[in-house]
């Protein structure tokens, strides 16, 4: 492969680790860090096995308490009582906050958590802190995840009696590449090397591929292609995938995802029970945190019960003189959350459209994740997909099992019975493009492009004698550039003077087999056989924390002097 002329590595701690190929392949473990729960699994030589902690739990709560000198997480720590999580000392829901700036609506929705999440709305990291002996101890989502991952690693090392380094992590579909670097950072802090980051429903798709492959072996049935929809909704995120599976190969046709989940259902119901609760608790004293925690636990409990019964009695003393005593039925719960459910529906429809698959063509419909127990969720998926739901999977363990399978496959392990004769062919979950045509986002690699991928578009200048252009790279699907995730930016300088519209600026994006994104830009002028300025190749993302203000500031400083437009196409 040719060496690029310029390589700008963004996050040195996450690069350059791919080189070593050990003589003895170490089987990578699969980790599912959920917003509320997490789990670890590994291929044990014949099948996938979930690891248990010392309290015999396969699913552990995702939180870290800063109560003592040494922070401890939900893997090792045992809460004396559920309420201990709600004293302000425990930090959780970090998967919702990681890699987000304080203008992000998801961060704003997290302000109701029983610890400190403060925003200045200027595009920097939110201030996140735990209350330890009446002092706010600040932390970051990366730190919390790292503490947690260390505990998971130690747990796995004790049980497997060997050091663990390589991991496959399942991640939400809607995570931007910037958020992925934050996850990699947390892993690096915990001494783990990320072999692969897999969108959660694609991990489930791999498990499905294995099950279907098994069935073909067992029954000698036909190995025809099977089309499945996978719907995954946990506490923090909702993801959908359409996969076409055959011969143990899962080709991801389309992905869709959003940061909605059980947490939103919970907050909406809390608001329904106590309409002005956010105001009541805004001062964040120890008493307010405590009341907020009590309400949260009671509401959570009620939602769980509503999955199996039609109505539930909520009776909770908030300790500040107010007491909530109410009966909530399932219909009420569905009404206060109708927007969330509508969003779920639209994600499934979008995903089917993107995959160009009709509901009638589906073989199976798989619903997993913590929210899969909610009757409304099951019903809405069933009615869109016109199918009964697939029964062959544990909804809470499917993603981690898929990640463990991928871990074994990617580590080069083979199985004599062909159980690891598997492959996932991934697609890009979000479009990647640049800002051009004013403030428009112009995708260069559209979403749902099979990876590895390489695409390019031609742009030109907007001003006469424009010598510099600014390439601002975004990821997302919104039309306006700033509504997408900023990945980075660089300038091409020294373009020879030419009337506007004449220089041909080629922007090429390349995602390689290890999911590394590179952006290349070159300039051609009429009559030249060679690029007129050296080609720039930049590895993305380049932005760091608190990047939210960057694009805005760039725009304010440079205005339209460095702008680009797409070259008009003739018909």
């Amino acid at each position: 492969m040719a060496e690029p002329a310029y390589t700008v590595a963004s996050d040195s701690e996450t690069t350059g680790e791919e080189k070593s190929s050990p003589a003895f392949p170490e089987i990578a473990i699969g980790i599912d860090i959920g917003t509320s729960q997490c789990s670890v699994a590994i291929w044990n030589g014949s099948q996938v096995e979930l690891l248990k902690n010392t309290r015999n739990q396969k699913l552990m709560r995702s939180y870290v308490t800063f109560k003592d000198e040494v922070p401890s997480g939900g893997v090792s720590n045992q809460l004396s009582h559920e309420h201990e999580m709600l004293t302000g000392a425990a930090i959780f829901n970090m998967k919702r906050l990681i890699g987000r700036v304080d203008t992000d609506p998801v961060v704003h929705a997290s302000k109701s958590l029983p610890f400190l999440v403060q925003t200045l709305d200027i595009g920097v990291r939110p201030f996140i802190a735990a209350l330890v002996n009446n002092v706010w101890r600040s932390t970051t989502p990366e730190e919390v995840l790292a503490i947690f991952l260390v505990e998971l690693r130690v747990m796995a090392e004790v049980q497997l009696k060997r050091p663990i380094r390589n991991v496959v992590l399942s991640i939400p579909v809607s995570f931007s590449r910037f958020q992925l670097t934050r996850i990699e950072r947390a892993c690096a802090m915990a001494g783990l090397h990320v072999l692969r980051l897999m969108p959660e429903p694609t991990a489930v798709a791999l498990l499905y591929a294995q099950q279907q492959q098994q069935m073909v072996h067992d029954t000698m049935g036909s190995g025809s292609e099977k089309i499945a929809v996978i719907f995954n909704m946990g506490a923090g995120y909702c993801d959908v995938a359409v996969t076409v599976t055959g011969g143990g190969v899962s080709q991801i046709k389309a992905l869709a995802g959003s940061a909605i989940g059980g947490e939103d259902l919970l907050q909406n119901l809390m608001r329904h029970l106590l309409p002005n609760w956010e105001k009541l608790f805004s001062s964040r004293g120890i008493n307010e945190i405590n009341s907020m925690g009590l309400l949260r636990v009671a509401t959570q409990d009620a939602i769980h019960k509503l999955s199996s019964q039609d109505s539930v009695q909520i009776d909770v003393d908030l300790g500040n003189g107010s007491r909530i005593c109410k009966v909530v039925n399932r219909q009420e719960f569905e009404e206060v959350n109708h927007k969330v459910f509508e969003k779920c529906e639209s994600l499934i429809i979008q995903c089917l459209n993107d995959a160009k698959v009709d509901a009638d063509d589906l073989t199976d419909v798989i619903v997993v994740g913590g929210c899969s127990y909610i009757p409304k969720i099951r019903n809405l998926v069933k009615s869109i997909c016109k199918r009964e739901l697939y029964k062959g999977m544990n909804p809470l363990e499917a993603a981690v099992c898929g990640a463990a399978l991928e871990g074994a496959v990617a580590s080069g392990i083979s199985d004599p019975f062909g159980s690891l004769d598997l492959l996932t062919i991934q697609a890009t979950p979000l479009g990647i493009g640049i800002r051009a045509n004013g403030n428009r986002f112009v995708p260069i690699i559209p979403r749902n492009t099979t990876m590895p991928a390489r695409k390019e578009l031609i742009f030109t200048t907007v001003n006469d004698n424009q010598t510099d252009v600014l390439i601002v790279v975004y990821e997302g699907d919104a039309e306006k550039a700033e509504e997408n995730h900023l990945l980075g930016y660089f300038k091409i300088m020294g373009i020879p003077p030419a009337p506007k519209g004449v220089p041909e600026i080629k922007v090429c994006m390349d995602i390689d087999a290890s999911n590394v994104l590179r952006v290349l830009a070159g300039v051609m002028l009429p009559g030249s056989q060679q690029p007129v300025v050296p080609i720039m190749e930049v590895r993305m993302p380049t932005v760091d924390d608190g990047h939210g203000w960057c694009a805005e500031a760039l725009h304010r400083t440079y205005g339209a002097t460095l702008d680009l437009v797409t070259v008009q196409q003739k018909i």
Partner: protein, 272 residues
């Protein structure tokens, strides 16, 4: 230092990666009456047509600018192709992308065309249904995810072969890209930038454009959409005929029509 070394790689090597298209040095003067519509249409359609160019240039540069010994060796002894790793002779029944005796991935041989990869006769009207299975069979042997523990060289082959099979699958599974590709194999390059000069098609484009703009509800749009589908099939059939009787000029005209119908159809989908 690592970085400085990288900075001074020869430019030619960079161009091979960076600028797939040979420079088409025309200035872009938009045809004004179609400007507004085309500006909506450009992003998606342009991108979908770029991969063949990439391979073209890739091939040229590979032979001119850089000497890939293994590749040229494979070309010279086209009768007996041997595995670079175990020296086994290719069976010859399937294209030699992968050595069955030592399970190593072979370097890309551009003389193997997309139809051969899928074991198909080189013709336009193919059974698309069988492609997916064959595509997956290849990926199971070639995908870069499966060769993590192998040498750097073979991982590179995997990346290239796998990308080529993805491109082959994508190209053959859609009528328009398949049509462009099959003509290119005949040495006819279709310039998708070319201005439409056929007055009949121009009028039609205008009409469709107006209809799309005036369509107020999804029902009306759906109706135009099924029209587009019909027209697409029509042009696809006439392409098949033109190609069979080797009337390539006529075939190119069909491709122009198909290109337009596809764009219109994508545009309608966005509006829906």
């Amino acid at each position: 230092m690592y970085k400085t070394k990288k900075l001074w790689t020869p430019l030619s090597a960079v161009i091979r990666r960076a600028l797939p298209t040979t420079c088409r040095l025309n200035t872009y003067t938009p045809v004004s009456q179609f400007r507004s519509l085309s500006s909506h249409l450009e992003a998606s359609s342009r991108v979908s047509l770029s991969p063949p160019y990439f391979h073209d240039l890739y091939r040229n540069l590979k032979f001119s600018a850089k000497n890939f010994c293994s590749l040229s060796a494979a070309k010279v002894n086209s009768t007996t192709i041997r595995c670079w790793n175990c020296d086994a002779v290719s069976a010859g029944t399937t294209p030699f992308l992968y050595c069955d005796s030592c399970r190593s991935i072979q370097p890309v041989d551009v003389s193997v065309d997309y139809f051969q990869i899928f074991g198909l006769e080189k013709k336009y009207d193919i059974e698309v249904d069988g492609l997916e299975g064959k595509y997956k069979d290849w990926q199971k042997k070639l995908h870069p995810d499966l060769v993590h523990s192998k040498s750097e060289k073979e991982r590179e082959y995997a990346a290239e072969q796998s990308a080529r099979v993805i491109d082959a699958y994508r190209t053959l599974s859609k009528p328009l890209s398949r049509a462009i590709y099959i003509l290119r194999l005949e040495g006819v390059d279709v310039d998708e930038e070319q201005t439409v000069s056929d007055p009949e098609l121009l009028t039609e484009i205008m009409e469709i454009r107006e209809a799309v703009e005036e369509a107020t509800d999804s029902q009306a749009l759906n109706q135009i959409q099924s029209q587009m589908k019909e027209k697409m099939e029509e042009s696809s059939n006439s392409f098949a005929n033109a190609y069979r009787s080797r009337k390539f000029d006529e075939a190119v005209t069909c491709i122009q029509r198909m290109t337009y119908y596809q764009r219109a159809s994508e545009e309608i989908l966005k509006k829906l």
